[in-house]
């Protein structure tokens, strides 16, 4: 059967591509709708949408001579028909069968199911809906009216119909010139927008809104991606990424300028260089915030495929659970979303594989037979929190201690010294988690260590709470944007090290005479606590040591409710830095999230606070 990119018999390559693209979208719509249907969460509008998708697919496939696909689509249409008349939702088995039909059609068309991606979600194709866009032309464009006319032509070439335009067609033909053109059309938005973008001198096509025909709006409860057709800014993602990188560089230069200004002091003509620097700082901050906003996308683009993933897991594992998603409308920088896609899939799979117990066991424990897995997202000031929670078996700290000893991470005595919380943190050690399987969805092996590394690389944190018999909850604390991190710079062993400001409680003085010992471990009193103390230089080398000769400046750092004091040689001040990866040669360096270029051109290593604490605990 036809594979991606190949021509379908009787169709040109271009026609095949368009057909396959639309078919893929229709199948997505069917899949999402069916999953919602299976949860009893489909509104009448969604049922209609489902029915229409099956119907359109049948027609398209028939026209393309794909009889097998047309037949399956026809069967689906017939099964969905009674639902439109208000008949009760189909059984789970029926929905399973219908989903299998969708998969079969995908296979026939050579459209392998895609991995959940963080790319923009395309609105389901809807031939009837009207789309309104604003087209902007390059300022140097010499033939605005010609280009405007070409745009209208492009809409028609893509099989669309121009409903209205501003300026209108007559004005365009009369040769009036406009920098921008607004127009409303009917037809497949994807195809039309692609044609419009191909017109020379078009620099931007912005979607203003998509008005459904008539009063019926898809809505109500259910799978959010069917309804969350947020207004989208159609700008090439690559362009935004580049812009963000440039702003990162700008921030570095601003810091350099600030440093130069401090050395020079006030000028003689009354204009203080500091003022200029400060203004520049405000401007770059605003620029950064604005571009960040432009890169925001709702989490639904990432979450939309999870219901199907979970449904398939329910089938393949034979465990029964309800899957609940909340907060899909929460917005997040797309590069953050990209980085957390795999970790989230891993956490969800883990919840099913290791969290949810067999029904029998749950019954014995007096729990409801159906388990519950919840994926929630919400915003708290400048962080996005995403939690994955299950009401399953939970983790047993004692079992984790045992495994750490078995695997040679810890001596038996060291293991016993770990608090329960620290024992649970062991799962984040590279090579510790047992199931390092390759996920079907991502095709890549992801361990808990990678989950943590991905999250911490972008300045976030992973917290885990677990109680034996009660369940486990992972919380990802994510920054709104990845590019820039506020850090405190310190010097240790001649290296500049950047510690995320968010992890630092206080800078304290470490006087050797105030250091006490608990067993062999040096500790320092801080407020009403007793905190473990180490030299950061040694901790970075994987040794948990402190000597009176170590620096007398201490950082009280915290990570997941745990606190330690790290002695450093001296403070270099705080700065905003752009965190960059260390590359694959240094990927395994524990305790580091990356590196950053400082205002003076030096390189600072950016700490992964949790990683340093963990490395330290294991070394013991």
């Amino acid at each position: 059967m036809a594979g991606r990119g190949a021509s379908l018999p009787g169709l040109s390559e271009e026609e095949s591509r368009l057909f396959l693209q639309e078919a893929g979208e229709l199948l997505d719509t069917l899949e999402e709708g069916l999953v919602a249907l299976g949860q009893g969460a489909a509104s009448p509008d969604q049922v209609n949408l489902l029915f229409r998708a099956a119907h359109t697919l049948k027609g398209n496939a028939g026209a393309a001579g794909l009889e097998e696909v047309a037949r399956r689509a026809h069967d689906l249409e017939n099964e969905l028909e009674p639902l439109r008349r208000g008949e009760p939702a189909p059984s789970r088995a029926d929905v399973d069968r219908m989903l299998a039909e969708v998969d079969a059609m995908r296979a026939e068309l050579g459209l392998a199911p895609e991995a959940p991606r963080a790319a923009e979600a395309e609105a389901p194709a809807d031939e009837e809906a009207e789309t309104e866009v604003e087209v902007r032309f390059s300022e140097q464009c010499p033939f605005l009216s010609v280009r405007s006319y070409q745009v209208l032509q492009a809409v028609r070439d893509a099989g669309g119909e121009v409903v209205a335009s501003e300026p209108d067609e007559a004005a365009i033909e009369a040769g009036e010139e406009f920098q921008r053109l607004r127009l409303r059309f009917r037809g497949s938005p994807e195809e039309v927008l692609r044609e419009i973008r191909a017109v020379p001198d078009v620099v931007r096509v912005e979607r203003i809104g998509q008005a459904p025909p008539g009063p019926a709006r898809t809505g109500g409860s259910g799978v959010a991606s069917l309804e969350s057709q947020a207004e989208t800014l159609r700008v090439e993602v690559r362009l935004l990424d580049h812009l963000m990188n440039l702003i990162g560089e700008l921030v570095v230069d601003r810091n350099r300028l600030g440093e130069a200004a401090r050395r020079l002091g006030t000028g003689h003509d009354g204009v203080s260089l500091d003022e200029v620097v400060e203004h520049l700082a405000r401007l770059s901050e605003e620029l950064q915030a604005t571009v960040t906003r432009a890169r925001m996308q709702p989490l639904s683009t990432l979450f939309r495929r999870f219901p199907r993933l979970m449904r398939d897991l329910e089938t393949s594992t034979g465990k029964s659970f309800d899957f609940v998603m909340e907060g899909e409308a929460t917005e997040l920088d797309r590069s953050v979303a990209t980085l957390i896609a795999d970790p989230l899939i891993h956490l969800l799979r883990n919840a099913v594989d290791h969290g949810v117990e067999p029904a029998e066991e749950r019954r014995r424990a007096g729990k409801p037979e159906r388990a519950r897995i919840e994926l929630r997202a919400w915003r708290e000031e400048n962080t996005i929190r995403i939690s994955v929670a299950d009401d399953g078996a939970g983790m047993d700290p004692e079992a984790l201690r045992r495994r750490a000893v078995e695997k040679g991470f810890l001596g038996a005595e060291q293991a016993q010294r770990l608090s329960d919380r620290e024992a649970i943190d062991l799962i984040f050690l590279p090579g510790f988690s047992t199931s390092r399987q390759v996920t079907e969805i991502s095709g890549r092996g992801v361990g808990m260590d990678v989950v943590r590394r991905n999250v911490e690389r972008i300045g976030g944190q992973v917290e885990v709470e677990s109680r034996p018999g009660r369940g486990t909850r992972f919380i990802l604390d994510l920054p709104l944007t990845v590019a820039i991190l506020r850090v405190l710079l310190v010097e240790v062993g001649g290296i500049a090290v950047a510690v995320p400001l968010g992890a630092i409680d206080e800078v304290v003085e470490v006087r050797p005479e105030r250091v006490e010992r608990v067993g062999s471990e040096p500790v320092l009193r801080w407020r009403d606590r007793v905190l473990s103390l180490a030299s950061l230089e040694a901790a970075l080398e994987g040794r948990w040591r402190w000597e009176p000769a170590a620096g007398q400046t201490g950082l009280v750092v915290h990570h997941q409710g745990r606190r330690q004091v790290w002695a450093v040689d001296r403070l270099l001040g705080d700065q905003e830095v752009v965190v960059k990866g260390l590359g694959r040669w240094l990927d395994e360096a524990r305790g580091l999230a990356g590196a950053a270029v400082l205002g003076d051109g030096r390189v600072a290593l950016v700490l992964d606070v949790g990683g340093v604490m963990l490395a330290a605990r294991v070394e013991g």
């Binding site: 001649g494 240094l586 395994e588 580091l592 950053a596 030096r602």
Partner: protein
């Protein structure tokens, strides 16, 4: 690096009659690095040490805003470390999308090496792990050992350098 089609790849004899290499000096010996892989040559500069890095990774430097790792090519090839001197250079080479710096004792020249002067690496080679070498060019005035950069830069071949001490094929 893998080619999508298993098309006809030119054999050594069919390639251009000569290849251009940048000659790197290491421990008194000349090594050739394919000029197509060499992005630029930098004067020696302070390198930020990275704790717990593999032994032959010296650390990272700032290359116009990019962070790139620098490896000690002497140690990578099992030649033993040496203090950087005034002639030391950091040769920046491309490795897929990444850039990697290689610290060498010096960079002397760019040479055209006629293909018919290249021999497989033999017993001539002392110290280095043969898997890092592509061949030996016997020029009139000197020998140039051609580096198999893709293997030198393959992080998975890390262990090789450590095994160098053991003489093997």
């Amino acid at each position: 690096m893998s080619q999508p089609t298993d098309g006809v790849r030119p054999g050594p004899g069919e390639e251009a009659a000569a290849e251009q290499v940048v000659v790197l000096e290491l421990d008194g010996q000349a090594y050739g690095a394919d000029i197509a892989s060499v992005r630029e040559v930098l004067a020696f500069q302070p390198i930020t040490r990275v704790p717990q890095a593999p032994p032959f990774v010296l650390g990272v430097i700032n290359l116009r805003g990019r962070i790139i790792p620098v490896i000690d090519l002497r140690r990578r090839l099992g030649l033993g470390a040496a203090e950087p001197g005034p002639l030391s250079r950091i040769v920046v080479v491309e490795d897929g999308e990444e850039l990697i710096g290689m610290l060498v004792d010096g960079v002397s020249e760019v040479l055209d090496i006629p293909a018919d002067l290249v021999e497989p690496p033999g017993e001539l080679v002392r110290g280095e792990d043969a898997s890092f070498l592509r061949g030996v060019a016997r020029l009139e005035e000197r020998l140039v050992i051609l580096l198999a950069l893709e293997r030198v830069l393959d992080a998975h071949q890390r262990a090789a350098a450590a095994r160098v001490a053991r003489p093997e094929g």
